[in-house]
Amino acid sequence: MNALNWTETLRQQLEEAGIVVDQQESAYTPHALVWQVAAEVWQQLAELSMLQGLRWSAGWAEQTGEQFTVHALLEKQGVYLLIRTSIGYKKPELPSQASVYPAANRSERHTHDMFGIKFIGHPDKRPWTRHKAWDKHTHPLRKDFPVQGSPEIITPPDMDYPFIRSHGAGTYEIPVGPVHAGIIEPGHFRFQAVGELILNLEERLGYVHKGIEKIAEGRTPQSLARLAGRVSGDTTVSHSWAACMAMEQAAGLSIPGRAALIRGILAERERVANHLGDIGAICNDVAFVFAQMQFSRLRENWLRTHATVFGHRLLMDCVIPGGVKSDVSDSDCRLIKQDIIPLRKELTDIITALDLNSSLEDRVYTAGFLPEDIAAAFGTVGYVGRASGQDFDVRRDLAYPPYDQVKFKVALENQGDIASRFWIRYKEIIAALKLIEQFIDLLTPGEILEEWHVPVAGSEGLGIVEGWRGEIIAFVRFDGDNKISRFYPRDPSILNWPVLEKLVLNNIVPDFPVCNKSLNGSYSGNDL
């Protein structure tokens, strides 16, 4: 069944069910259709979409005057369906999609905390993003909520979050965090265990909520790109790319071919840097320091080339609205290509040594198993999804420039364990190196920046890119005067964090760090 078929079939089914769909013109076609529906059918629409095998990708809301618009983004075969509905300001409520799509669970709780929109029938009534920094009757993303809020001098800890409790002889709880023992971001994990075995894990995130969506309001495009580049520091290129793509759509602007290729090089370099770091860190979490030292050395070499060519070790602020900040010279290109040759050789050496190491194998094979059906049910994306058979990659399936100019294979595994998530990263590094070479070969002289047009007030854009962790969504709406009125970035971590609670089950508590590292969700990208 090709893509257009499923939208037609779905539409027919909706008609049969008496659901009226208003298909709206948008800047997103042909990659995304926009359907406006009545609030009452919000859940029913989710049910029919689920039957059609659509994946739930993102959900957010915005306030326009005296009403809220709630959006949900669904996807199948690289075609997106953006459904939206309007609800009144006085008693904002609509049926929840979370009972149909588990992926919508935390997202709807976030929307509830931030806007005070009630999702009727939501299986979990607890707050998610809100701890104690604001009162439960106020909602930071409403337009009448001042950006400074009215915080107490010391924000108290969130002591009364009702975690799931376990009872019975021999079970005990381990609370971990928010401050962890290593150099990592803060979050709380609550384990229920018997002996060493994990019976249940509950995540409590939101500790690094910095009000990104609120402080985005009123920014200029340049300043929004900077902020987007700090949603999750390790994904700075892809987040600013998604935000810029959305703003460029709103402005009706297409970037020069050379700029797209350079963005591609940046994004692939970011992917390689992070995967190198992760592979080392996974090995380190099972006390295999050799790999950690080798991979952190390779990562350092790689970052130094970032600094030489692009002027920043993590590539921050290289992607700007309309294109990229700086060009690459011929000698830069030569350097980038030369760098790849020894990296490939070293990777082969090290990976062969690792592959033959049984003490490493013992720890990573079969541990942290994520079955394909659970990965599918939670809409898991990126390397976590692809290690559990979820064959989806925005670069291939949406083929946004520059990925439309190249042929490449998306790695796929179905073992679903830590080893699988390890190998998929390795394969993605190899594929990314090839992509970088292809992009360099495709470079032709030309501009790297398109002149900015001020978008008309009310125009919107939807950026979708494949970051190193997976699919990133950025929604942008402009006010007049070139100012942002709404920015919502959906980091892949938001979809991937929930499956950590599943894949650790029946593993031993001491294996939690390596399970967690193999997924490596971003706390900052989740908490916003």
């Binding site: 809020g149 924000t155 023992a181 803060p186 910095k210």
Partner: protein, 170 residues
């Protein structure tokens, strides 16, 4: 196993020398307390890192301190798992309001004498996030700060030099 040893031997030692920071640089780092530290910690410090709300960029560069190029442990600087073992708290990020109490408690749990180093522009002044309903801004708005290492994020070299200046041996 043999391959493993071969790789270790052929890689050799890649650790690079680091120039001791000059007085001017020390001043830039805002450190007037260096001598006290020399005396109290005899040239070795234990660090507890706390992310109080960062975007995780700063953490990536702090991680790099342990890679073979920088090998920060050779200077007697090491990271510890508990604030109770720490001499220095390395704090990143604007302090999110949701982390405020956690940071205060970690600070209290660290035995005296202790020093707080704010790492990154966010920790120094709030950076891109500033002060809002969700963010307290600079670390110094929450706990006393003794030194600042600026940058977004600071490079590992800037971090090494900043930390060295805390425990410089003469």
């Amino acid at each position: 196993m043999l391959r493993l040893f071969k790789k270790i031997l052929t890689t050799g030692i890649v650790t690079e020398p680091v120039k001791a920071p000059k007085d001017v640089e020390l001043e830039q780092l805002g450190i007037a307390i260096k001598r006290h530290i020399d005396r109290r910690y005899s040239g070795s410090i234990a660090i507890r890192q706390i992310d109080a709300g960062s975007c995780n960029g700063c953490e990536l560069e702090i991680h790099a301190l342990n890679n073979p190029y920088y090998d920060i442990e050779r200077f007697g600087i090491h990271f510890v798992a508990s604030p109770r073992h720490a001499d220095v708290l390395l704090v990143t990020g604007p302090v999110s309001r949701h982390m405020q109490t956690a940071l205060l408690r970690t600070y209290e749990a660290t035995p005296d004498p202790k020093w707080v180093v704010a790492v990154g522009d966010c920790a120094a002044c709030g950076g891109e996030f500033g002060v809002s309903y969700a963010s307290c801004g600079a670390v110094s708005n929450v706990i006393p700060v003794d030194a600042v290492i600026a940058g977004c994020p600071p490079t590992p070299l800037a971090l090494v030099q900043g930390l060295l200046s805390l425990c410089e041996r003469h």
